[in-house]
Structures are given as C-alpha cells and as structure tokens.
C-alpha cells in the first residue's frame, strides 16, 4: 500500500470529485425539469400526450445510458449537434435520469388518494388548481424518497462519462493508473470519494424528507 501516493493524489482527486458534483447537479436540475414535463404528459387526459410520455420513458429506460452518452457525443456532430464532453455528458445523463424521475413523480401523484382530487373539484377548483393546491403538495412528500434514490443513481452514473473523456473522478482515476500502475490505491481513493458524495446526498434527502413530514 503506497500511502505517500494517496497523499499526493488527493488534492487532484478532490478537484475531480468537484467536477463530478457539478456534473451531477447540472444533470439533476435538467433531469428534474424534463421529468416534471414527462410526468405531466404521462398523466394527461390526451392519449397522444400520454403516448409521447410513455415513449420517452421506454426509450430512455430501455437502452443503456452509456449508449445514450455515445449517441449524443459521437453521433451528435453528424446531425449538427456539436458539444463539449462535459456538456454532452451532463445533457445525456440528465435526459436519462429524467425517465426514471418522471416515474417517481408520477408515482407520487397517483399515490394521493382520489378523494382529494374529488373534494377539491367539488369545491369548484379546476383540475389544474386542484393539482397545484391539493394534490401536488401531498405528492411532493411521497416523491422525495424515490427521487432521492434516482439522484444517488445519477451521482454514481456520472462515472460513465469518463468514456467520453470528461475529466471527472473516474476518468482521473484511470489516467493516474496509467502513469502510476497502482490501481488498488487509486480505485480505493476514488471509491471513498464517491461514497462521501453519496453520503452527503442522502443527508440532504433525509433532511428534506423530515422537513416535509413535520409540515403535516
């Protein structure tokens, strides 16, 4: 075990982990926005909108995330979409996790008792108003855990963009192994850093969950 090596690489690896955090946050924001839209489509009265939402989820859940990243980064230029590795990675990861998050959001909405919508409608609220004031606030609480699971999967999934040379944690690890031939030390440090990030994220999720639980 080369302790000195670990001490030397840590600053660089923390820097790389920060890139992973940024990548995760960006994909998360994009993912949530797209997921809200897709969940809305999936819950629509209109069959054609429901179909679009379902198709989105099927495509993005039904194909490997790695392939989606390749398709955007390598295939994109062919159809006029030329992106930097970081941008391509963030977008591909965001679009991918959106499919899973859309299902978490939809599940939350569907878990709210039907009587809530009926009671709101019976008071004279329109459908959108009932969603906004009555159903969604209750659904939000039910979504936090499943969305948290999605977010954790996303953080770990960012490792995939190492394959398109985004200089994040896993890519950095591979590069250092090439020059030092100490895969054990380097992957161990890398794993610890991922665990710290995921642990931090679960703390945030727990806190959100508790905050919502206290409200009612």
């Amino acid at each position: 075990m080369d302790i000195a090596l670990i001490g030397r690489i840590i600053p660089v690896f923390v820097q790389a982990a920060w890139t992973t955090v940024q990548l995760s946050l960006l994909s998360l924001v994009l993912g949530l926005a797209v997921a809200a839209l897709i969940a809305g489509l999936r819950l629509s009265h209109l069959a054609v909108l429901r179909f679009i939402g379902t198709a989105y989820v099927s495509v993005f859940r039904g194909t490997p995330a790695l392939l989606q990243i390749f398709l955007l980064y390598f295939g994109g230029p062919q159809i006029g979409i030329q992106l930097e590795p970081f941008a391509a990675g963030a977008i591909a990861l965001g679009l991918n996790i959106a499919a899973y998050m859309a299902e978490s959001i939809r599940g939350g909405v569907l878990s709210v008792d039907r009587g809530q919508m009926e009671a709101a409608r019976s008071l004279g609220f329109g459908e959108g108003q009932s969603m906004r004031w009555i159903v969604l606030p209750q659904a939000a609480k039910l979504m936090i855990r499943p969305l948290g699971v999605n977010a954790v999967a996303l953080v770990k999934g960012t490792a995939l963009v190492a394959t398109i040379s985004v200089v994040e944690l896993t890519y950095t690890a591979q590069r250092f192994i090439g020059s030092t031939y100490k895969p054990f030390e380097i992957f161990a440090v890398t794993a610890v850093l991922y665990m710290i990030m995921v642990y931090g994220l679960t703390l945030v999720i727990d806190r959100l969950d508790r905050a919502y639980a206290e409200e009612a």
Partner: protein, 254 residues
C-alpha cells in the same frame, strides 16, 4: 308543479358502468329549502345519483338542473370546465371519508376555496373559517391538522369547508357511514341545524331513523331506479311497494 322552480331537478338520469346500468332513468326534484333523504340497499345507485348531481359522475343520459341552470351541458372542454367549476361552487358536497386536505390546517382547509376561488383576503377567509367552525362547534380546533381530529370532528370540519363557499345546496354522501357509532350524533346534529336554517339538502344515508327525523321527503331506490317516494311518515310506516317493505323490514330487524 309549484310556480317556484325547483332547486335541483334530475330528469331521466341514466348511467352505465360498463354493461351494468346503475341508473335506469331517474326523475326527481328538490324544492328550495327542502330536505330529501335517499335510502336503499348498497349498489342501488343512490351514491352515483348524488355524485352525478355535481358531475363527479358523468351521466350517460338525462339532465341535471341546479336553480334553473343545466349542469350537464354540452360545451367545448374549456368552456365546460369553467361552467362546471362555477356550478360546483354553488353545491357543497360532504363525502363518506371526509376527504379533508391533510397537508392543510383546519383553518386552511376551510379558507382555501374562498381565497383561491373568490379572491377573499387571508384575514377575511380566516374570519370566515372561524365563523363556520363556530357553526359546527369546533372553533377551538382552528389551528389543528386533520390527523389530530376524531372522525366526527373531521366530518364537521368537512361540512364547515363546504359551507364556507355559501352553497345553494348541500349534498351528503353517507356522511356518517364511516364513523364510530358514538360519533354519529355530533354530525347528525350539525345536519339538523342546517335543516333548521332551511338549507336545501340531499342526504344519501343508511340511517333510517335520522332520515325519518330530518327529511321532508324520502326516496327509496333499488337496482338503479326509484321504487317509492313520499313523506317519511308514509314511506316508513305504510310503504306501498313490496320491495320497500322487505328492505325496511330487514333494516329494522338487523
């Protein structure tokens, strides 16, 4: 027919659930200030009938009128939404399972519709909530959350919530069926009080004694049709139809 138009009028109401005809052409009307109780065995269609009055169920045939306005009009989607929302503001509905909003306090449960739908200021809406809670004897619970209330208290808040919109009619869908027996009276008392204030009410109920006490008219339904209707005294003491007799007998013996 009197010269006063009825508050609620249902004509030829028909409704199918798949191949099953749950309403087989129902006609009835409720005059202003009148209290009608609808009784009948489970599956007779009485709840479906009540729910179709405020369009929570869509009729497959027939008409529903509220105070001279046709409820189930044929309109483009958006126009109908607007129409039905305004109609529903004039009809209070009380559900078997209360359906209070668990994420809102008692005050907010009552105030949210007047605030969001009538643009009432928050202070005024809270004052209104307090007034409505006073009516149902729960002023001290104004800042409680629904989870902290007993079933009877929940239902009384649900009634207060409906009343806050100052509806022309109140619809009760088995309002006491989900309550523990000892909590039924407090809810019935509130309903009787409303009756004394001449609120127009349609009450779907399993409680014959309460129906007899409070209703001006009782409708007995079975298999999606009105079998018999009349004043409570007549219908309960001297039912004409065999079907009514056997239903009441089962009830009195059970």
């Amino acid at each position: 027919m009197t010269d006063v138009r009825p508050m609620i009028e249902v004509r030829g109401a028909r409704k199918f659930f798949g191949p099953l005809e749950v309403l087989k052409g129902i006609d009835f009307s409720v005059a202003r200030g009148q209290i009608v109780a609808v009784i009948g065995p489970s599956g007779s269609g009485k709840s479906t009938l009540l729910r179709s009055i405020n369009h929570l169920e869509t009729l497959d045939g027939g008409e529903v009128w509220l105070d001279g306005v046709k409820v189930n009009q044929t309109l483009p989607r958006r126009a109908f939404e607007k129409h039905i929302n305004s109609v529903r503001q004039q009809m209070g509905m009380v559900f078997q399972h209360f359906n209070l909003f668990p994420h809102l306090s008692v005050a907010e449960n009552i105030a949210i519709a007047p605030m969001k739908l009538k643009g009432m200021a928050k202070v005024d809406a809270r004052a209104l909530a307090l007034k409505m809670l006073d009516k149902v004897g729960l002023a001290d619970k104004i800042d409680a959350f629904p989870a902290r209330l007993s079933g009877g208290q929940k239902q009384r808040v649900a009634i207060a919530r409906a009343l806050a919109m100052q509806p022309k009619v109140m619809l009760f869908d088995e309002a006491t069926s989900a309550l523990d027996p000892e909590l039924v009276d407090e809810v019935n008392l509130v309903m009787k009080q409303l009756a004394a204030e001449h609120m127009t009410m349609v009450i779907v109920t399993h409680e014959m004694r309460f129906a007899a006490e409070v209703a001006d008219r009782v409708i007995f339904m079975a298999d999606g049709a009105v079998v018999e209707e009349g004043k409570p005294d007549d219908l309960f003491r001297n039912p004409v139809q065999e079907r009514t007799r056997s239903f009441l007998k089962k009830f009195l013996n059970g």
